[in-house]
Symmetry: C4
Subunit: 237 residues, 4 copies
């Protein structure tokens, strides 16, 4: 139950931070069965409540749909949970400062300690390499597998012209990574403009990334974010 | 009645998203008579209520004004409804990230799947080509026709130094297009700055646009937007 | 009384729009005596109430101070009212997108019809030309006269490294000009970035400016802005 | 007690202005013992209450911890208070427009009178010069001393890839400097973009900085900021 509440909070936190609009989603692996995960039905994130949370197997088939409509892109979550067994949570979003990076050849790089995980790699998923002429949505198992393959062992991947996916061992980590990926994208663009063409930007080096990532759990932020998000549950939606 | 409530919601949704300030407007074709449309009287969008909605014929003459002042730019709506018989709703706004594109020669292009419709063309209306020395307002039938001609069969048109117009078969589609045209403008500017002069930006290709536009109805967003907007109606303005 | 309420509303409107922070101010010429004007005492704009409004003569000496502290920069207002007899209201602010223009040689130009008044000229006041080594504040009659001289017959002037001043025949016009000067600054920067170095930007031409300025009173916005601002008066500050 | 309330207000003011997220902190020197300072326990700034404030000696050892967890970076505060005996308050934050400057070679310079203090110097702390391979946190006395040495006699210092520190004789001054350092960073980036590569920007000159800094106490803003912040204390967190 705690886990489901955490997941409801995660939806609302991401909406509150402007990281997901009406179309993003976040999942968490079941704490009772690692072959299952939870994800909200097709509804706007800021309105998600406990009753909207559905359970899926790793093929992204709902276990007990009770007439609730699944989001079409659930395969993002299932296919990543399949191959990243250490991962407990997945966020997919369209956060607005990240999309512009996804349509260029400029990689995101780690420049802010709160987003040091970017130093472990943020590949860019070009859906055309898997299938041409799509609407960019990852709405089949095949496309989910292709995205998971691009993601590899990384903490996040961009999705060209669409958004990004961030993962974490825990829900706070996956959510925190989405929040700070967005912020870091904004900072990188600004640093590029300040430094100017050919100017030098100091990114975190490998040792700094290695010292930062394992301890960065967003634990000071999470309880406040969660409390605020769930206080909203008491209000009529 | 449902349609009028939808229209009131549309005004408030657009104000809430920062897409219209005190001066934008949105119309919907009557569901009883395709030669009629509904539009609010000259009042700030965020305060529109049911009583502010007026009915017009396609020459933009009010059917039952009852002393209410019409907006001067109503011809934008009437003239588009005349020639675009498949269109059910029209939005005119000054959304802040779109205006800067309208004063340059750089076209808006589709780079974000939520704004794939841009790939069907967003021409730029130069009012000077129709009439010199105006205050830029489309306040005559002649200027309305000129704008409708520039728009042609496209989903949106910029208006130089002024704003834009978006259209849709339905109100949610026309409204959603205004929201995402603004967001896409911001993303395109950022992508241009990231890529740098001469840098490569990957836009949606024709097949991707073709796969996206017909299905993009903004249906997951609309009910939440509408509920929020109309909950405001209960409050004193 | 109506005029004083309008002035209180103006303070709150400007604070609400992010045009004035804790340090801006707005004045209105008395409707009973054109040699007098009203201005709030030295207090944060968003908290201004009726009791904070003080009356001044055109030398900016308070008529009835009753122990209330005057703002040091009141000479901006008095000296402009002296020489611009057609002007009824003056706003001084630090709006954040305008200051960057004030420290460059790039003039603000009219590109958005809502800010067409920029086409009538927005000179930049370099305080060093009047006095060296100041704290940039216009806190003497001499500096107020120098600013008024730079302003000349224009609707607004930048103040280098400090902010700007906008004037209008009426309070809604002076306030609206501050709101849209800020917005236009943001749009001009964006247009410059979109167009790129050497790229073409289409500004309003003289005929368009001439057709727009006389009619642009911000009359559709003002009643909503005012009602919102004064509804706040009922709340404890 | 007044001082502790001021400190609680400072946390909330900085959170409200977007200057600190879940991870910044602010301290004030004790008014009873200049060898002591106050700082909140490890908790999100926007939720800080009187009970969260802990007292430290200048080695940053808590005087009366009562089980409360100290923030790891408290050495920033203690080591600065040790060497800057005239300083009464220290703010550490990650304000988003400042971080991009910290990763470039472009210095912050004074261009806005409200942030004239930048003219007294804002050095950039490169933590690698003190210790390689850190997580960028100043979590040892040694790193605190290195930061204090970089700060020297200046009013603020950037921290590469991490954030900044601002100091002041009083809490309002240290807090105001954080608020206006962020704003000035945004303005400087915009001025650089407006002026273009090689374009001229007029910064405050030394005489203007000298005339501005001693009097800039942010005294008009502080009471409003404080009242708003503490009104929040009455609400459940």
């Amino acid at each position: 139950m705690k886990l489901i509440e955490d997941l409801v909070a995660a939806y609302r936190i991401l909406a509150e931070h402007g990281v997901i609009d009406a179309y993003g989603h976040v999942s968490v692996r079941s704490d009772r069965n690692p072959k299952r995960y939870f994800l909200a039905r097709a509804v706007a994130p800021e309105t998600v409540t406990l009753d909207d949370i559905m359970e899926y197997d790793l093929d992204s088939t709902p276990v007990d749909a009770r007439g609730r409509e699944s989001v079409r892109e659930r395969f993002i979550h299932g296919e990543i949970f399949k191959v990243r067994t250490e991962i407990g949570a997945v966020v997919h979003n369209h956060s607005p400062s990240v999309v512009p990076f996804s349509v260029t050849n400029v990689p995101m790089r780690p420049l802010f300690h709160m987003a040091a995980f970017i130093g472990d790699g943020v590949p860019n998923f070009e859906i055309r390499d898997a299938e041409k002429g799509t609407d960019l949505l990852v709405k089949t198992p095949y496309l989910g597998r292709a995205l998971a393959k691009t993601l590899g062992g990384c903490p996040a991947a961009l999705m060209r012209g669409h958004g990004s996916v961030t993962v974490g061992e825990t829900l706070p980590r996956a959510v925190g990574r989405s929040v700070y990926l967005e912020l870091s994208a904004r900072m990188q663009l600004q640093a590029m403009m300040i430094a100017g063409s050919g100017g030098k930007i100091t990114y975190l080096d490998d040792a700094e990334v290695g010292a930062s990532v394992p301890v960065q759990e967003y634990n000071r932020a999470w309880p406040v974010w969660r409390a605020k998000a769930l206080s909203g549950l008491a209000r009529p939606a």
